[in-house]
Structures are given as C-alpha cells and as structure tokens.
Symmetry: C2
Subunit: 220 residues, 2 copies
C-alpha cells in the first residue's frame, strides 16, 4: 500500500463520507465539506484519478475505486481509534476528540495503529458510536434509523449522533442520553414533532424534533 499526503488523505476521506449518502459526489460538495474552493477540488480529483483511487470524468462527479475505499477505511480506522483513545484514556470530552484525531489519523505507521488497537482492547465503535474498521479494513454495517422514524413503544438503543458539537453534548448529558442508552418513544406530538421518550423505568420526558433528528438508534 502506497503512502498518501495529509491533503490527499483528507480528500479521500471526504469523498468516502459524502458517497455514503450520495451515489456520485460533486466538486461543490467536497469543497463545502473541506472548506476549500472548487478549483482546488478539481486539481486534487485529477491527481487521485491518476493514482486510480477514484473514478472521475470531468463534469461527472466522483466515486472511490476499491483501492480508494481501502485507503479511506484505513484513515477512518486511525481516526476512530484515536478518538477512542482520547475519550477513554485521556478523558477528553466527546466534542473535543474529533479535532485532534483529524491530525493523528495521518500517521500511518502500521505497528502504531495495530498496537494502539490492541492496547485499547479492540474497541468496536468510537465515542460517537461509529464503527471502527478492523486491521483488514472490514467495517460493521449497522442498520441504524433516525429516532424520528422509530415506532412508538419499540425499545431501541442509541447508536450514534450526527451532530458532534458541545451544544448537543450539553443537552444530551442533561437528558442523560448517551451512546448505548436504551429508550422507547411513548408518544409523538404532531404539532412540533416533539417526542415523549422513556429510558428504562424512569419517568418519561420530552425532546425536541431538532434533537431527535440527530439521534440514530438500532432496534431488534
């Protein structure tokens, strides 16, 4: 496996994340995601195409090749292992891990990564609930749904949260909701799409539609 620059890696990862929801990724999407300019994206996409990491015909958008996907999963593995390390070992808050992991992920030394994985006890998910690819690049596909789609009275487990700011963290901590919390919806209110939810045997309480939209759960 060849080595890629920090910049190349950031673009590869961006395309990977964007193509999860979108089948073809556009120049403007990548530019928006990385806070860079469209012209810079075009330059880099040409380079990554030349390295056979993505398919790209001009004006047609991009998708990672199998090789590109493998590279992306390596970066994501490192990113999430470091996030786990920062949260579990260094007691970082949930909203502080991402920024530092964004730098640590670019150190590709294989022994470092695999020994870190071992040291951490082979964690399955990062502090945001996202799955960590294993040393072979295999990643768990969790069929998660948005809390807004969960049927009433079906118990589900909080799997991940899409917004990762300190503002949502503050609210989630106050409501005592975290990754792994088991909960069920008792009632949905049509007027403001707010939800009445219950955790275990505790009294039910209400959460806003804005919060519910950012919570993802698994059930059955």
């Amino acid at each position: 496996m060849l080595n890629y620059s920090t910049s190349e890696e950031n673009y590869i990862k961006a395309v990977y994340h964007l193509q999860l929801t979108d089948d073809s990724v556009t120049t403007n999407e990548v530019a928006g995601y990385l806070k860079t300019k469209p012209a810079s994206v075009t330059d880099m996409m040409k380079k990554l195409k030349a390295k056979k990491l993505l398919n790209y015909e001009r004006y047609r958008g991009f998708r990672l090749t199998a090789e590109g996907t493998k590279v992306a999963l390596g970066i994501i593995r490192r990113h999430r292992l470091w996030e786990y390390f920062l949260a579990e070992k260094l007691r970082f808050n949930w909203d502080e891990v991402h920024e530092v992991a964004e730098e640590l992920e670019h150190i590709t030394n294989k022994k470092l990564v695999d020994k870190l994985d071992e040291f951490l006890g082979y964690p399955r998910t990062d502090p945001h609930g996202d799955p960590i690819p294993d040393a072979n690049g295999k990643i768990e596909v969790t069929r998660k749904i948005c809390l807004t789609e969960l049927p009433v009275n079906k118990t589900a487990t909080v799997n991940s949260v899409s917004d990762q700011s300190s503002k949502i963290l503050e609210l989630l901590e106050h409501k005592k909701i975290s990754i792994g919390t088991r909960l069920e919806i008792k009632k949905r209110f049509e007027f403001d799409k707010s939800l009445e939810i219950r955790i275990g045997r505790q009294p039910a309480f209400t959460i806003s539609s804005q919060l519910a939209e950012n919570i993802f759960v698994t059930h059955e």
Copy 2:
C-alpha cells in the same frame, strides 16, 4: 505562543540538539543532522531569524534565542512523552519509538500533551534515559559522564545511551544493561580501551570501547 510548521520544528529541534555540544551551530552540521542540503538550511535559518527564534549573521553560525529554546523544549517534551507512551503502553522496542515520535511530536494541541503527560504519570525520562521537559518547559540537567570517563571502582547508574539503533539494543540486552542499571568499572585495558565491568554481585565481564563510548552514567 505561535504555531510553527513541521519543517520549521524539525530545524529548531536540530539546532537545539547541536548547540548542546557546540556553542555555535553551522550550516553543514544542520544539513548533516537533518539529511538535507546546506542551501535548504540557509533558507530556513533566514526564516527562523526573521521570526526571532534564532540569532544568525551570515557565515557566522546560529544559536537559538530564549524564545527559540522555549519552542524547542516544547517539541522535545512532546517527542519524549510519545516515546514513553510507545515503549510503556504499546510495548514498542526501544529502537522503534524514535521514528514514530518524530511524527507525533508535531501535534501541538496543548490539552493532548498535558493529558498524555498526566495519563503516563508524569514520567521524568524517556526510554533512552533523556529527561522530559515539564509543561513549563523546565528540563532537568543531569551531570552525566561517558562511561569511558568513570573512575575504577566507583558505582554509577546508566543514564542514557547516545546510539539508539537496534544493533546497540541487541548488544545491551545481551549484556543485561539498561537505563537504571547500577554498575562499576573493575579494570580498563589500555590496549583496546575495553572495560571490565560488574553489575551488582554478578561476575564481571568485558565491554568494548565502542560500546562504552555510547553509554552515559551518573554517579555520587
């Protein structure tokens, strides 16, 4: 404290290390140390002078300013904390830690470094026996001498080893010498400068002058 590029940091650290033994550091010394060309060194020295990190008049060599020294100690702190982490937590061998730490040292996030220090239990020295600067940039000055200079029959403690290759590690492991080992010289042989040394009550054995030259000890 401003932020410096990876490249700037590598040069700052090189000058720091070189000026420990040499009162003025030369262009060729830095080029040799960093495996770069003299012309590149001159370019960077101009830049670091402009940033007031070192004193430099052309053709006259360089020395770090107080500010430059502070920056250097920050880099060395990060380098040695990561070396300690790699050796103690990830069970890296002694000769494998340097290369990875060379990359990790450039992540300057203060919280990361200070929390790592706390997690490691505020270690005083790295796996090679070199002191780790504290969060304020204070570093212990150990009056260490080369084993070749230790008087006969004076017990001393192995403090550090200047060569950090796997070849010296192999030999030291075989001889059961490591950082912290207490030993004394029983006899020096003029012919080849070899030394007969003893560890505790064990039988004495011989080491070569080439090995002795790379071992540093403290005594009293």
